[in-house]
């Protein structure tokens, strides 16, 4: 029996992703084998625990947060190529909004896959170019003159995306936005917690949306 597009994506996506897993692990493995340098357990363990205690839960929650936004095809790709919040999710969102396609549909899923794949190719090529040109590029990228631009990619991205969605669903947006503004203003060192706060924001906005929808205040 011929597989549907979605079944085919899941079948091939799994193979590609497991291949990526093997390749990613092969890098430190081959470096250790060929160079003969292995981490000692007493040094590896504390570093790993300090990292995994934060990033294992965060990256796990990210899967459940971002996959409904991205759809199947782009999820298999986006979680291999990384940089989800600053590149892949906004790229998918931009593509769907530009053509006025409903999210969570076959059409939305396919457009998101095209956007994420295109974005992945562009980013990979730019990084490869950056690697080749690292010596002449380093002083430019580290220059004090350009630093304010590179430091503000996130505000530039979420200012534009934010205003579109906040005005579209103002009643849903107001509670999570106020919560986050207070949280980040009040909690010391909160700047490093944005990855953890994304799923928190998602839960708050979903609860608010559900309550408003049930009360007939939004449609």
């Amino acid at each position: 029996m011929k597989r549907t597009y979605q079944d085919q994506i899941h079948f091939e996506g799994r193979i590609w992703m497991l291949g990526a897993l093997l390749l990613f692990v092969s890098l430190p493995l081959f470096i250790s084998i060929f160079s003969g340098v292995w981490p000692s357990f007493k040094n590896f363990f504390p570093g790993f625990i300090a990292t995994a205690v934060i990033f294992w839960p965060v990256t796990t929650i990210e899967v459940f947060t971002f996959t409904p936004m991205l759809g199947s095809g782009s999820s298999y790709l986006a979680f291999v190529t990384g940089n989800l919040t600053s590149l892949k999710v906004p790229a998918a969102l931009n593509a769907q909004d530009a053509l006025g396609v409903e999210k969570g549909t076959d059409e939305g899923d396919v457009l998101a896959t095209i956007a994420v794949a295109s974005s992945s190719i562009a980013t990979t090529l730019i990084i490869i170019l950056g690697i080749i040109l690292i010596i002449p590029l380093a002083p430019i990228l580290e220059s004090d003159v350009l630093k304010p631009a590179f430091d503000n990619v996130i505000p530039a991205l979420f200012g534009a995306i934010g205003v579109v969605y906040i005005t579209k669903r103002f009643k849903v947006a107001i509670v999570p936005i106020i919560f986050m503004l207070i949280f980040f203003l009040v909690v010391p060192g909160s700047g490093g917690l944005v990855g953890i706060m994304v799923p928190v924001g998602v839960v708050i906005s979903l609860v608010v949306a559900r309550v408003l929808y049930k009360k007939g205040l939004i449609k």
């Binding site: 250790s32 190529t81 919040t85 969570g104 430091d151 979420f158 203003l185 949306a209």
Partner: protein, 246 residues
């Protein structure tokens, strides 16, 4: 890091980059074929590809900034690979710092960093953000079918829920913009007025582009309003900074 400057590291990193490019290309071609079946025009697909690539330029430049930092520990090949796949600078730098500073007590970029420290950091970075590579292949189909059930049950709620999902992410990053930052040199902690100004500027640009699209029928802007707003506001960040805003 000289021990990473050898042909076989270049070969492994090259293979991984080729793999990522191949996966992206295969998914792009499959999605394109499916998009044509769903009655998207070739022009719409071409514009989606072009605008997604143009949009990716500005955030990718910020990744290159991270590349310069991580190159000081891992060399450009390994640093580029770590930043271009799987994670992001927001994972890779803290993970590397947990090892180099947390375990060995040195700063990123210190000349005293040894091959053992680098290999330890690389293992921690690799295994520290591995869950998605296991969870997605194992559970994505189940997550998708559960999500499909919700969609089929109530179409109106599905649309609201999708917007709410994005708003959750957006709210976290809008809040993040007002988080106090600490100047590495002076130790001063302050709220970045510059970041807030860039956020507002970018929002204003996309509103202006929206007006141009609606009132003056500039439809070509649909695909490019977001990247143009980003690039314009990042450009103005340089002007604001020159005027003394921080």
């Amino acid at each position: 890091m000289d021990f990473l400057n050898v042909w076989w590291v270049y070969l492994i990193v090259g293979i991984i980059f080729l793999y990522v490019l191949a996966q992206s290309t295969v998914f792009l071609l499959k999605a394109r074929k499916r998009a044509l079946e769903l009655n998207f025009t070739k022009e719409q697909i071409r514009k989606t590809i072009t605008s997604s690539m143009i949009f990716s330029i500005a955030p990718s430049m910020a990744i290159l900034f991270g590349l310069v930092i991580l190159t000081k520990v891992f060399g450009p090949m390994v640093a580029g690979l770590r930043l271009g796949t799987l994670g992001a600078l927001t994972y890779e730098l803290p993970a590397a710092t947990n090892v180099i500073k947390g375990v060995f007590g040195l700063d990123i970029g210190s000349l005293a960093i040894t091959p053992e420290m680098i290999v330890t950091a690389l293992w921690v970075m690799t295994l520290g953000c591995i869950p998605p590579l296991l969870i997605v292949p194992l559970f994505l189909k189940k997550i998708s079918s559960r999500f499909d059930q919700i969609k089929e049950k109530d179409e109106t709620w599905k649309n609201i829920m999708m917007d709410a999902l994005f708003l959750g992410m957006i709210s976290a990053f809008v809040g993040y913009v007002v988080a106090p930052v600490t100047d590495e040199l002076t130790g001063d902690t302050y709220i970045s007025i510059l970041a807030i100004l860039v956020l507002v500027t970018s929002a204003l640009f996309i509103i202006i582009f929206g007006i141009l699209m609606k009132k003056f029928k500039q439809d070509w802007l649909k695909n490019y309003a977001l990247p143009l707003s980003m690039i314009a506001s990042m450009g103005l960040a340089l002007v604001y900074a020159l005027l003394g805003v921080r």
